[in-house]
């Protein structure tokens, strides 16, 4: 804005509004400064504000463009899409080999599950994902969700195990790939969450014994690496069990994983409990609510919504940590991908595999993240002033 702005046509709308307001026009609206410039102005001010900024912007554009161009060529333009063996891919070393994924995706997704029966884990996964999606709706957060999961879970179990209704029996050691990852993540986290709430409440209990047990459990479990816990569950536990008693390896890993997740989630939930003002407890006490109803109706609903971000953070972390079960020889998604890479006939296509695996994990983790953001907004809608 130059100081020689004396002629009226040269006034900006903002200046004009200011002058009108100063003249006492009640209709004049002075917009806040800096508002309404459009994307072009934003780019000019923020990316090309000075010579140094302009140079940095240009260098970054070139670097990013070059990386993007190369990736695009490798992944799409120069990629090999057809064929049934590695020959075509080897003839085209500069492009991605999606033929490999096309040949191996069933192995990566289902591992060693009998080939002819793989429709069973497919349906199981569809049911699971549908139930997860349905559970996202807050109107389902009552007995309906519980009933749905009991019925759906039973169907999923029947599909995976078989042995009834003419389905052949498939033992858990043959399971593999994404179904195993889903079973581990969903069951372990579904079990860990209520356990974590109990641990968090117990840690704040006035009863010394309960408090000591909860503190002891949390500190003990948190103090050891997940891998050592999994190894204990798979190798050490059977040594202590009486002969003849044999707990399934997947179940052992699941329980170990659940206990580990519970300890972490408990501390997240405790953070939320501590943020609830004392007055809320007192108001609930004063009206004669007992401990159970006070906790269920007043304290937990507030505490849990406060900790949605760290809670989902922990959930996402543990979803990916299910891949650590490879260490005790359970054939989850990552292990299946890893084995596919090691096929002698298809050596050298690790990049494609890991990209495929990363994309699969990303779909689940990103969904969780987006859902948590939606949930936060939805739950806080009512509380905005």
């Amino acid at each position: 804005m130059s100081t020689t702005d004396t002629t009226i046509p040269n006034l900006t709308p903002r200046k004009k509004a200011e002058l009108l307001a100063a003249a006492g026009d009640p209709e004049a609206v002075v917009a806040p400064p800096g508002g309404g410039g459009g994307p072009v102005l934003w780019v000019r001010q923020n990316l090309f504000g000075s010579i140094r900024d302009s140079i940095i912007t240009l260098v970054l554009i070139v670097v990013l463009g070059w990386l993007g161009y190369n990736f695009l060529h490798w992944a799409l333009l120069d990629a090999t899409w057809s064929g049934t063996d590695a020959a075509a891919c080897r003839a085209n070393p500069d492009g991605a080999c999606w033929t490999f994924i096309g040949e191996k995706y069933r192995f990566i997704l289902f591992g060693t599950y009998p080939y002819g029966e793989q429709w069973r884990p497919t349906i199981m996964m569809i049911i699971t994902v549908m139930m997860l999606a349905a559970s996202c709706d807050r109107r389902m957060w009552n007995w309906r969700a519980l009933a749905m999961w009991i019925v759906g879970g039973t169907i999923c179990g029947i599909l995976l195990f078989g042995g009834v209704f003419g389905l052949s029996y498939v033992e858990t050691s043959s399971w593999g790939g994404l179904p195993v990852t889903l079973v581990l993540a969903v069951l372990a986290l579904a079990g860990a969450f209520p356990l974590a709430i109990l641990l968090a409440l117990g840690r704040r209990s006035n009863l010394p014994l309960i408090k000591a047990l909860c503190v002891g459990f949390i500190e003990l479990i948190r103090g050891v690496p997940l891998i050592s816990l999994l190894i204990m569950a798979s190798v050490m536990l059977p040594l202590f069990l009486p002969t003849g008693v044999n707990i399934d390896k997947l179940l052992r890993a699941l329980i170990g994983f659940m206990l580990f997740a519970a300890a972490y989630l408990a501390e997240v939930i405790r953070g939320g409990l501590q943020a609830i003002p004392k007055g809320q407890y007192e108001a609930a006490d004063a009206m004669g609510l007992n401990y159970f109803n006070k906790t269920r109706l007043i304290i937990l609903p507030q505490a849990l919504r406060l900790v949605i971000p760290p809670l989902v953070n922990t959930f996402i972390g543990f979803f990916k940590d299910t891949s650590l079960v490879y260490i005790i020889g359970i054939f989850d998604l990552l292990t299946a991908g890893d084995s596919a890479v090691k096929d002698p006939a298809w050596r050298g296509f690790a990049n494609e595999t890991y990209l495929f695996l990363a994309a699969t994990y990303f779909v689940f983790c990103f969904s969780m993240s987006r859902y948590s953001q939606y949930l936060e907004r939805d739950l806080n809608k009512s509380q905005r002033r």
Binding site: G279, A286, L289, N293, L297, Q383
Partner: protein, 255 residues
């Protein structure tokens, strides 16, 4: 009011405190407090901050535990027995300085919560009851809103209605107007005066001396954990006996 005070002697005793003592660590907050409140009696407790007046009424519904002496509420002796405590809390409503509404529940849900879960009232009946009390505190149109959307005065009126929904025999008020903006004090006091006129037994910790003058049967002055003076308001304000009371009144009534 003076006439009502004379008739009170015939009424049954609702609350009785006998040589109540309490310590926070080494700090002696309540020293040999004796107090008798009869049915329909309104007692205003005043005193400088830290004098133990809030602690006193919080002992009556066991939000604080006293260490020596006896407290009898409606004939029930307060002990560590959780069942006893819950019985007493059902019949004793409390209104807090900071309202303490449940921010995640709508106004109507705040009101129906205790009737449904403590009194086991059917939801429909509880909602009718809640609407009746919301009308009495003159904000039925706010029923579906959340506490955060209401003004301080409205929130405190909801808090009073919430306590009334339990149909308590006794109401405790812990500085109900101290957290309010000045222009909202009156709307809350009006509701409290109405409640008093209906014959509710009330103990109010408050600095509102006008309220004490017009409503109280007895005014209690506390200082350093002791009940220094207790008298009918005319007597209390006109001829305070103790030097400490005179000093307190001169400070609080100066402006």
């Amino acid at each position: 009011m003076a006439q009502a005070a004379r008739n009170l002697d015939a009424e049954p005793v609702e609350i009785e405190l006998h040589n109540v003592n309490k310590w926070y660590g080494q700090f002696h907050v309540l020293r040999d407090v004796n107090l008798t409140v009869r049915k329909g009696e309104k007692v205003v407790v005043c005193g400088p901050s830290g004098s133990g007046k809030s602690t006193l009424i919080r002992c009556i519904n066991r939000l604080e535990e006293h260490q020596a002496g006896d407290i009898l509420v409606d004939g029930t002796l307060l002990t560590n027995d959780v069942k006893n405590i819950e019985i007493i809390r059902r019949d004793v409503g409390m209104v807090f300085q900071q309202f303490n509404l449940f921010p995640h529940l709508t106004i109507i849900d705040n009101l129906t919560l205790a009737p449904i879960w403590v009194r086991k009232m059917p939801r429909k009946d509880a909602e009718e009851l809640a609407m009746m009390y919301l009308e009495r505190v003159r904000i039925p149109e706010q029923a579906q809103k959340f506490p955060g959307q209401l003004s301080g005065g409205q929130q405190q009126r909801v808090a009073i209605a919430r306590a009334l929904c339990m149909r308590p025999k006794i109401m405790l008020f812990d500085e109900p107007t101290s957290a309010l903006d000045p222009e909202m004090v009156k709307e809350v006091l009006d509701v409290m005066v109405e409640l008093a006129n209906e014959g509710m037994t009330m103990i109010c910790v408050t600095h509102e001396m006008g309220f004490a003058r017009s409503v109280a049967d007895n005014v209690v002055f506390m200082d350093r954990g002791e009940v220094v003076e207790m008298a009918a308001p005319e007597e209390f304000f006109a001829h305070p006996k103790s030097e400490r009371t005179r000093l307190f009144l001169s400070q609080i009534l100066a402006h």
